[in-house]
Symmetry: C2
Amino acid sequence: MQTVATIFSGNLRKNAKKVSNFTNWTRTIISTAGDIKRGPLPNYVAEEPDGPQIKTNIPGPRSLALKKELSYIQNSDAVVFFTDYDRSQGNYIADADGNLLLDLYMQIASLPLGYNHPRLHQALRDEHNAALFVNRPALAAYPPQQWIARVKSALMTLAPPGLNCVQTMSCGSCSVEYCQKSMFMLHQRRERGGLPPTDEEMQSCLINEPPGCPDLCILSFTNGLHGRTMGALSMTHAKWFHKLDSPQPKWPIAQFPKIRYPLHEFERENNAEVEKSLAEVEELIEKFNKLGRQVVGICIEPIQGEGGDNMATPYFYRALQRISKKYNISFMLDEIQTGCGGTGKMWAHEHFNLDEPPDLVSFSKKMLTGGFYFREHHMPQEPGRIFNTWVGDPSKVIMLEEVAKVIYEQDLLKQVEETGKYLISSLEEAQERFPNMLSRARGLGTFAAIDFKDAESRDYFIHKARNKGINTGGSGEKSLRFRPALILQKKHVNIFLDTLYSVVSDMK
Amino acid sequence: MQTVATIFSGNLRKNAKKVSNFTNWTRTIISTAGDIKRGPLPNYVAEEPDGPQIKTNIPGPRSLALKKELSYIQNSDAVVFFTDYDRSQGNYIADADGNLLLDLYMQIASLPLGYNHPRLHQALRDEHNAALFVNRPALAAYPPQQWIARVKSALMTLAPPGLNCVQTMSCGSCSVEYCQKSMFMLHQRRERGGLPPTDEEMQSCLINEPPGCPDLCILSFTNGLHGRTMGALSMTHAKWFHKLDSPQPKWPIAQFPKIRYPLHEFERENNAEVEKSLAEVEELIEKFNKLGRQVVGICIEPIQGEGGDNMATPYFYRALQRISKKYNISFMLDEIQTGCGGTGKMWAHEHFNLDEPPDLVSFSKKMLTGGFYFREHHMPQEPGRIFNTWVGDPSKVIMLEEVAKVIYEQDLLKQVEETGKYLISSLEEAQERFPNMLSRARGLGTFAAIDFKDAESRDYFIHKARNKGINTGGSGEKSLRFRPALILQKKHVNIFLDTLYSVVSDMK
């Protein structure tokens, strides 16, 4: 008997096959504006628009009305504009007022292939994936039979060199929190000489007391951002509104090196600054250890992507790893924002030429799923230690599998590297042209930034540029940050540069 | 010009319309076993199977091989079996070895409508939803233009009485963490008399120091489980492997009342036990406040769903809320496991006849998205205070919208109530039949439990029942917990009872 269901799926299969001959970035998608104004499907074929299309102020009247409506349900002050995800495509984001902006911010650095990539739509439409979108599993207890194959073709294909273990999580903060737990657990396992925990430990931990809950800590850096749950927040020192009013453990915080630009003029000063930070790291570890508050790890971003796009030198990271080896503690890189290709390498720490792989690398954002890679010695010894109901979402890994394929098929890392070189050299030119307004152009790949003379100028530029059809974001006190998708090309950079020159020319 | 894309979507639309005439639980789905063995689509029509179908030991050889393979990538000790989500349907879960089990555990209480509900497949296939599956937004900055409509028709439709505000999150732990932040923020806002934070507060919080990071705390209860990130974990006291080795703040922990069963025999003792707990709560608040460690809230589950299915009386919860009013602190109910209908009411606290709505209600699991409801006085006053990149996922809210419709259309809460009454009275009969083995049958709706004489017996039963085609889970030291989907019927309870009687008859 042929049911509606089989007719339905039969057609799906036939069409899925057709679509699969129709690869990559050659068409756009196929949907209406959702519940609000359903109508005929847009029939735009082929590429992105030639440039931004601006019809109203941004946010426009519709966004403003929606923002007000949302404010009765939750604080909506952070809303930039309401978005038409159906009509966004590639590097362009469409808003609820019919405007189309070149998006160099990409949902806070979290879309790897831009909007409505056809390969992701294809993965969504593939009936073989449907059950994993509809039935979200408790992954650590009842994994799908395809899970290992999915993990391998998505997460292990993208893994940093030398890191063969991975744990998925639902978001970035959780990824960092479970890295922290991994560091605490490894340290205590070593303290126990590999023996199982004692009854006293198992009982005391239930009431937050030692020896089960020992007074351990992790070293982090000024201006870092690692998340906003309590553990992740305890290592976050970027902006007051992330953490004000939360009780926080007193853990060691070292100064992130303050690098001066241009690099070739300040080599001596920068080296001294890096050495000063490294010395402080060692001093803090020894100080806390002497107090009986064992430091079990060092956690740092390869580039401080929220706290000012601060970069150190590759030497700094190599030296940090050597310090972690010296004290037999873990070295964790938080690549939530830097991971998945934005720096022109899959992982930013691949730029550092480390002696050996880091112990833990957290990810989220462009990876679509949260999680962390880890080295074998961080493998938990008991069940349920790294565990929660969902520990991630297979539907995100299905999408990531497609992202991985597109990155390799289209050699997107090379494109990021080339576009990034062009972007950063163009920013350097711009700061030579406007030395009183712009400085410190910097970055790796298209993970780039430039400073304005002050916060007010930076914020004014972001506002002006948005109204001319360029969506960007700030970082730290006065930096403008670039977090485009991996599909950004030189032509898009040129559109940005036109706006940069035109807006900054009028600024004082 | 008609492209492949429009042909594709045209067919989808036509078929979507056909499927939409084909409502509810009258057929099953439509997919193959995924990447591993693709083949012709199963053509099973209509209902679930008549009962479990067991072909191998559980876990079977294929699950065991996969479990070993996974162990090289991550600790896989918690895997029960690998699952065939394509062939699972309704109340039945299919494993990778061709077995089909009646599932009373439902992905740790997280699937509201069972497996492969046709209405969820329909929502997945609806082209108007596609862009929100493909482009995950930074929701607090660039919400979809349909977002408010979605929030209203899903989250606000299901909201607890009197709670008009809601914030989505990606998982349960984050939901609890941001409730904690809300409590800290409200307390400090009151301390400031509503004035904005001082420079000293904004600076000191960046280095984890007061006054920006004050020494506040939240009162929780023994055997509670609220999550496994550091803040949530600090209120979790259920099992050692959740928190061993983590440093934890010393916050007040009160004894959850130890209720004795049957209730009518122990009314006096139980009332005394409840009063003892309430007295301890007040003592702890006063003690901590005197130490300058202000208690800003009380957090508790309506039923302790992980730490032993411990239930208190409605009076206990009413009294707790009155204590929170007396001390002008927040009263938070963690309904991550109890929410969304499993107790026969949408929210378990609706059984308590509280004087007024709780201040905060956290959710996740069956709600498909994490998040929390809150009262207006918990609305943050500044942007970015309750914020992270994703703050949830609209694709989950799309699914929840469909869940809400099905719950109301099919009056599933009534079904849960009726099935639950039958389940619990049947458990009471069973414990009368096996008084040396079973005791303390209890629950609300189908959120039910029964105790075995010891942990070993409980674990033996779970293992034996699984091999006879019933999937269940443990809770606390020696309880068996029931967390079926909302679609469980009496006929399923009868299948379980057959197994219960047959296995327990052979146990000593």
